[in-house]
């Protein structure tokens, strides 16, 4: 493999590391209490004391962005974890065994994909009940399974009949061993970019759900919910929408770059 500078990957990693660092920091430390209100500090523009300004309750927006990012990143990560693990499991089974199992599982998968994802998440939320982070994660996690299943199924199917798999099978390796030890490591180049794309979609999906009022509930902060709050005071505190929106864009942009970089890396590598 030719050694080559991967600009996407590096830029993406830098941006993501900074933001992830901020998000993790937001869990432990924020300059101000993100829900503390102050009548004296309402609608202040960005200043050294409040670098992103304050909102209608005098809350420090930078603190809220930190806390909100950590909520959003946490939800997005868990969502992708659920989607990737369950989706890959489905993809592995269907891609490797084929046949009736494949038909049944993939048709169910198609049925899930037929719904717009937000609508599906809405349905799940209305069953589980709104207002809890766990439920948002579950709802989005379920929504994310089909795309992973479809993607990994193709990858598994394409290497199913490779010689080294045949050999492993002839040596009497169990299906589980073949799937986990021999096949899974060889589909990373497909899975990793998919995870980054999935993460981005999850960030945006969480943002949309909270924006619509079915995700995180006030006064908790998540980027999406903050954006919907910011919308109501755009005239008086434009810095709120701008800083929150920027945070979402940067987060998605950084992870997107990593995904792009990984994809290019994968193209160079052989499997």
């Amino acid at each position: 493999m030719k050694k080559k500078m991967n600009g996407y990957l590096i830029a993406g990693l830098i941006i993501t590391c900074i933001l992830a660092g901020l998000a993790i920091l937001g869990n432990f430390y924020t300059p101000y209490d993100p829900t503390a209100m102050s009548g004296a500090a309402k609608f202040q523009g960005p200043s050294p004391a409040h670098i992103f300004g304050t909102d209608n309750f005098g809350r420090d927006i930078f603190s809220r962005v930190l806390k909100g990012s950590s909520t959003t990143v946490f939800i997005a990560s868990c969502t992708v974890l659920i989607g990737a693990v369950a989706g890959t499991a489905v993809g592995a089974v269907t891609g490797y065994f084929g046949g009736v199992v494949d038909d049944i599982l993939m048709r169910m998968n198609d049925a899930l994909t037929a719904f717009p994802s937000i609508l599906l998440a809405l349905v799940v939320i209305s069953i589980l009940g709104p207002g809890s982070e766990i439920n948002v994660i579950l709802a989005l996690g379920i929504v994310f399974i089909p795309s992973f299943a479809r993607l990994t199924r193709t990858a598994f199917a394409s290497i199913r009949d490779r010689n080294y798999i045949e050999s492993a099978r002839l040596m009497g390796a169990s299906s589980a061993r073949i799937l986990l030890i021999h096949m899974l490591p060889n589909i990373w180049s497909v899975l990793l970019p998919a995870i980054t794309i999935g993460f981005n979609n999850a960030v945006l999906a969480e943002a949309s759900m909270s924006f619509l009022g079915i995700g995180v509930t006030p006064p908790d902060a998540s980027l999406g919910y903050m954006l919907s709050e910011a919308q109501g005071m755009f005239a008086r505190a434009p810095w709120y929408a701008v800083s929150t929106g920027l945070m979402i864009i940067m987060l998605v942009f950084g992870v997107g770059l990593i995904g792009e970089g990984l994809q290019r890396l994968g193209k160079d590598a052989e499997y």
Binding site: G7, T35, M37, N56, F57, G213, G232, A235, I249
Partner: protein
């Protein structure tokens, strides 16, 4: 590859400038941009922004001339009306607010809160307060063209007084012992005098032989009902044969937009002409060039209503602790820019003589005292609670958020549960399945009972399950007291009872800001939660 990274950063830069460059007009763009993918945001934000602001200005200018030219307006309202439009069955304040323009009673309230003759041209009351004689006004017609007859009036009153199937719709009317008519006179005899009786005669007069009130209501008001689309709109038209001064507008469309940003956008885009019940944060987004803001009071009691039947709110000390822990003025300052009148009981200032201002400061903000009371009640470390809030009402959501923050100081961990208005009505108000809720409660008539009766332990509207024997006794006493001054004192004692027992955490009567498109005049405030559109007109 470097170039591509650069290009990527450029795209990002565009997205950022598009976002920060978005003026007030391009709000929609901003939100969709953030919620869609970064790529589309970057690619389309600039174009959409240009396109949307262009189309908006176009729409705004044409709408202005358009609706003013056809002499009609579109009113934005935050909630759909009750499922049935039958005025006798209406529950929601939002329904009464609209239907105030369609229905009238024998008498009706004027902007000062006095009762003025409507379907009746005159009323005489006997000295002992037991005999009422109404004279029907000549030439009053229903919207279907048929004249109002004494039978219709009697049927309407009897329908509200009927208690053969449980509680009567207006229980106070069960004191009617006899109604007779003679030509154009209607005699009502009461079994006991009631100072508030005349207020109940604001009940809508409906045709006795018509059974379509649920879907196509017919009344005698200045506007007649034309059509309704559930969750979308209600259309009213001027009633040409109105007995009084006819409405100035030809047509009024109520557009239901269940979120406050949507209402503001509707105003900005020219889709709406007038929206009431707005907050300062919202109205400040509107430009003076297009709108003027009228300020009154909402005429309702906004409070953190507590379900007195569930733990820990069944303990009076806990409720009192919450009252000490919530800083009303703080809520008003933080969430409402200081606009709003703090309240201490279930009565608002527009009620005049019934309002007891001394109750407002009964509980002064005192977290230490609150903590003491909680410890006494067995919750030294506070507790968890849920505040259910109808999410289409931003002011209530804002209040709830401040309350949550204030309660933290005494260790009470409150979470907000935003729900749909319809779920609020069915689960919280009807089903009483809630711990606490922030809403505003208003009066359907200008009577003290309209505010206070609901807390009588057996009342069907007692959604907070308030159960206080003294209160019930006071209410019974109020019903049998005929001296106006004496009765007023009893009502005040009831208010004091509510305050002392901390039935709810009373907060405020909110400022009512009405955004009105310039050129539209004639807004009048009532001491009730209504918007009278009959006086509105487009100035030249």
């Amino acid at each position: 590859m470097r170039k591509q990274v650069l290009a990527g950063l450029l795209v990002l830069g565009m997205a950022v400038t598009a976002l920060s460059g978005c003026g007030k007009k391009a709000q929609t763009t901003e939100t969709t941009a953030a919620a869609s993918t970064e790529a589309t945001a970057a690619a389309s934000a600039a174009e959409t922004q240009a396109a949307s602001s262009a189309s908006e200005t176009e729409a705004a200018s044409s709408a202005k001339t358009g609706r003013a030219a056809t002499n009609e307006i579109t009113v934005g309202i935050a909630q759909d009306l009750d499922e049935s439009l039958d005025p006798h069955l209406a529950v929601a304040a939002g329904t009464r607010e609209v239907m105030f323009n369609v229905f009238e009673g024998l008498v009706k309230p004027d902007p000062e809160g006095n009762l003025i003759p409507a379907v009746a041209s005159d009323v005489e009351v006997s000295e002992d307060g037991l005999e009422y004689t109404f004279t029907l006004r000549e030439g009053v017609k229903f919207h279907d063209g048929s004249p109002v007859e004494a039978d219709d009036v009697i049927w309407s009153i009897k329908r509200n007084a009927d208690d053969s199937e449980g509680e009567a719709m207006i229980p106070a009317l069960t004191s009617i012992s006899d109604i007779t008519s003679e030509d154009n006179k209607i005699h009502i005899t009461l079994s006991q005098a009631n100072n508030e009786f005349l207020s109940y005669m604001t009940l809508a007069v409906l045709p006795s032989d018509y059974d379509g009130q649920d879907t196509a209501p017919i009344g005698t008001g200045p506007f007649k009902f034309v059509s309704r689309k559930a969750q979308d709109s209600i259309v009213l038209e001027r009633f040409e044969d109105y007995w009084g001064e006819p409405a100035k507008l030809d047509r009024v469309t109520y557009k239901i937009i269940e979120n406050s940003e949507g209402l503001i956008m509707g105003l900005q885009s020219g889709a709406l002409d007038i929206v009431s019940h707005l907050g300062n944060t919202q109205t400040s987004q509107l430009s003076d060039a297009d709108f003027h803001i009228e300020q009154g009071t909402m005429n309702l009691v906004q409070a953190l209503y507590l379900n007195n039947a569930v733990a820990p709110f069944d303990d009076v000390r806990v409720r009192q602790a919450l009252c000490y822990a919530v800083d009303k003025q703080g809520v008003i300052d933080l969430a409402f820019d200081g606009l709003g009148v703090p309240l201490g009981s279930s009565m608002y200032p527009a009620f005049g003589k019934y309002f007891d201002a001394s109750l407002t400061d009964y509980y002064t903000y005192d977290p230490a005292k609150a903590k003491e009371l909680l410890t006494e009640a067995g919750y030294p470390n506070g507790f968890d609670m849920t505040i259910t809030v109808p999410k289409n009402y931003q002011p209530h959501l804002d209040t709830a958020q401040v309350v949550v923050e204030q309660l933290k100081a005494i260790g009470v961990n409150a979470t907000i549960q935003p729900i749909e208005w319809t779920s609020w009505v069915s689960d919280v108000y009807m089903g009483r399945q809630f711990e606490s809720t922030v809403v505003g409660v208003d009066a359907s008539e200008m009577t003290a009972s309209a505010m206070l009766k609901r807390f009588e332990s057996t009342d069907s509207n007692n959604f907070i399950n308030y159960n206080n024997a003294d209160y019930d006794a006071l209410y019974a006493k109020a019903q049998s007291t005929f001296d106006d001054a004496e009765q007023t004192e009893v009502f005040k004692a009831m208010e004091r009872n509510l305050t002392e027992n901390a039935a709810n955490v009373y907060i405020q009567d909110m400022a009512d800001l009405i955004a009105v498109r310039n050129g539209l005049e004639g807004v009048q405030f009532y001491p009730l939660y209504v918007l009278d559109v009959s006086g509105l007109y487009w100035a030249d």
